[in-house]
Symmetry: C2
Subunit: 249 residues, 2 copies
DNA sequence: CGATCAATTGAGAATAATCAATTGGCGTGG
DNA sequence: CCACGCCAATTGATTATTCTCAATTGATCG
């Protein structure tokens, strides 16, 4: 690596670190503001617990405080698909506002705490305290932007790049929540990851093997659920370049 | 078709018709409420005009009054993808709230009228008139639900089924806006449809040819831009069944 | 009438799915 | 403690689907 590149990389890393710090602060501030202004019902959930289910009447929004959960969309014809993976500071349940019923299942992936907020109380608090309303709108906006990025990843990326992008996203999410991001423990099976990414479990397994062979990731345990990511930006580069056709062996 | 089936179909059609009527009323009421409570800047757009562009500062939300437009997401690495197709009564620009800048381009597909609403004025009006706030939240929620359905269609459906689902969706959108839905004029090229559905233009063309061969659709003009849909529910059935593996010749 | 652009269609290549066999962890009960 | 069964993951062989490349047709417009 030459001097120019390493300087550019160092500057880039610095910007990344600032970004991350801001993001952590944003989440902390958000949780504090909500706790201060809205009655919160704290609920401990364990892996597999449903936070809400498709068809349930919409009365509450939820805010993940610790742990993580998945959101699964179910179609009338029986197709089911994971459409979101959420961490500390992420909101759940916006899909229920429009029709008065939830349209997805939200299921905890590990032990954590979820805050339940009565929607009517939240709206009342928003009316009294405009910054809270701005926050709520921004969070809905964030979900919309994130879903669109996910949509784009599905249509434009190869199987390997999709898996790499998934790992990159998880690493980034953990990082911006103050957790170590060089090693991630997947609380999802290959089948679940595949469902999320529109791939079969075998394709996910093969993609992970290829990424490991290319040294972009490494496995930290025997069961291959712990994934080391020595260099997140290398993974990001791969996602960009593989889109343009550079494939792994 | 036997009696049982035709009775069931008739009842189903009746429910569909009620649903459609409610939906039309909802859109009419929404436009009236917004026009009454918020200063609206009406803007006539023509095919190809940008309503907003990625990177533009977020100051307004937009509401499509007539015509239709597409929303295109652009990634940092140059990938671009259409992520939405909008009609009368659809809102645009929610993606800009979170970061203060738009993250997509919105481009008119035909001549139409778009209402521009200052976001701060809208928020102020919402504070004064709670039903308007409920409406705004419901619209954001609707976008989230719709995006997730699109995500699911991409990962679970074959090329033929994706194209069929796209046509079904457009027909339904036109129907719920009081326009004829037995014949639709696509204002998008095969390449644009393909981009939206994660397919190449050739795959879209082949899928349309196969759907036509199966009599699920027909072409009404020489250029094959006008598509007849004799029976929307047959198309919906195909989407459901093809997901389970029944393919066309 | 020719130029241009969109659409179609075919042949072959590439990617991911499917089917099938095997390995490896992990927990349970002998 | 070890054997067993179970589940997740991997890997290989084959098939199917979609993409890519290429040629052709058709419509539209100056």
């Amino acid at each position: 690596m030459n001097t120019v590149t390493s300087t550019a990389t160092a500057r880039h890393d610095l910007i990344e670190a600032q970004e991350t710090r801001r993001e952590r602060q944003r989440i902390t501030d958000m949780l504090a503001l909500v706790a201060e202004r809205v009655p919160v019902q704290r609920r401990v959930v364990h892996a597999g617990d449903a936070i809400y289910r498709s068809g349930d009447a919409f009365t509450h929004l939820y805010l993940q405080n610790t742990g993580c959960c998945k959101v699964v969309n179910s179609a009338a014809d029986g197709r089911a698909q994971m459409v979101g993976l959420l961490f500390r500071g992420d909101w759940l349940g916006f899909d229920g506002i429009a029709g008065g019923r939830f349209r997805c299942d939200a299921v905890a992936l590990d032990t954590g705490e979820v805050w339940a907020l009565r929607y009517d109380a939240l709206v009342a608090a928003c009316a009294e305290h405009p910054p809270l309303m701005a926050l709520l709108h921004a969070e809905m906006s964030r979900v919309i932007g994130r879903d669109r990025d996910a949509l784009m990843a599905l249509t434009t990326l190869s199987a390997d790049a999709r898996v790499a992008e998934f790992l990159r996203l998880v690493a980034h999410a953990l990082d911006s929540r103050g957790l170590r991001n060089d090693q991630i423990t997947l609380r999802m099976t290959r089948a679940e990851i595949g469902n999320y990414l529109g791939l079969t479990l075998e394709s996910v397994s093969r993609a992970l093997s290829r990424l490991a062979r290319a040294q972009l990731i490494g496995f930290a345990d025997g069961a291959r659920r712990e994934i080391r990511i020595p260099d997140v930006s290398a993974l990001a580069d791969f996602v960009g370049h593989d889109g343009a056709g550079v494939a792994l062996q």
